[in-house]
Amino acid sequence: MAEPQSALGHAFVPGDHGNAAGGIGITLHERAALSIVQVTAWRETIPAVVTAISNVTGLNVPDKPGAGRSAGEKSVFGFAPGRYFVVAQASDLEERLRSAVHLEAGTVINLTHGRTAIRVKGPWSEWVLSKLFAIDFSEHAFPVGFGRATLHHDIHTNIQRIDEETFDLYVFRTFARSFWLTLGHAAAEVGYRVE
């Protein structure tokens, strides 16, 4: 497989930025070397696909709208009826999902080269993300493990809540650099660290 290159390029500048003198409100990090795969069930095969994903990833995914789980570098969440984002560091993720999800049960699409995964962590993460996405980031509306499909400036993003103050964003690779810069502008007032 081709060596993956970051889409962020020269926009990725490690260190402290914005109003960092007042403290670090959030930390931004590009999650590299991931496999990102979308699995879609047919209407009547959702339970079978959920079971297959659990078997491959070891993560038990509740069959509820937007529900998901994450553990270490592995993540699964639903973002539409019968549609799941599956993320892991294993380069054979697609292959393993393909052998677990036959065409009779659903379809498997590898998005690895089409998405950039950004982790946003810190006490001001809800505040900063609320500037970009018109959804409720509070924990009662957006619980840990759950995923969302939504927009920033009319551009799709998938978001998963990892813990109280941590979110993973999956943005289109071709928009990732400008999104990264926008995220930096949004985070400047609270101070942010890139690592």
Partner: protein, 95 residues
Amino acid sequence: MIIKCPYCGPRDVIEFTYQGDATRQRPDPASSDQIAWNAYVYDRANPMGSHREFWLHSGGCRQHLIVTRDMATHVISSVGFARDTTGTAKSGDRP
């Protein structure tokens, strides 16, 4: 205006695409009744009040929805998946 998607929950209207009047009945595709086809394509009642309409949650789960909305007040009285409520063909089904 906020539409409460049955999958995604309440979302701003900016995430949705209007897909038209959901009360229309498509004539039999084999029919060549020009008056019926003309009515299907062009005639709209445009009521001031409750209206059934298709919306696509294009900025979220990408499902087609049927929304019942008051055209005068924008108050939404119901939202459901279009595939659960229309016709005989189920959009999520395999061909």
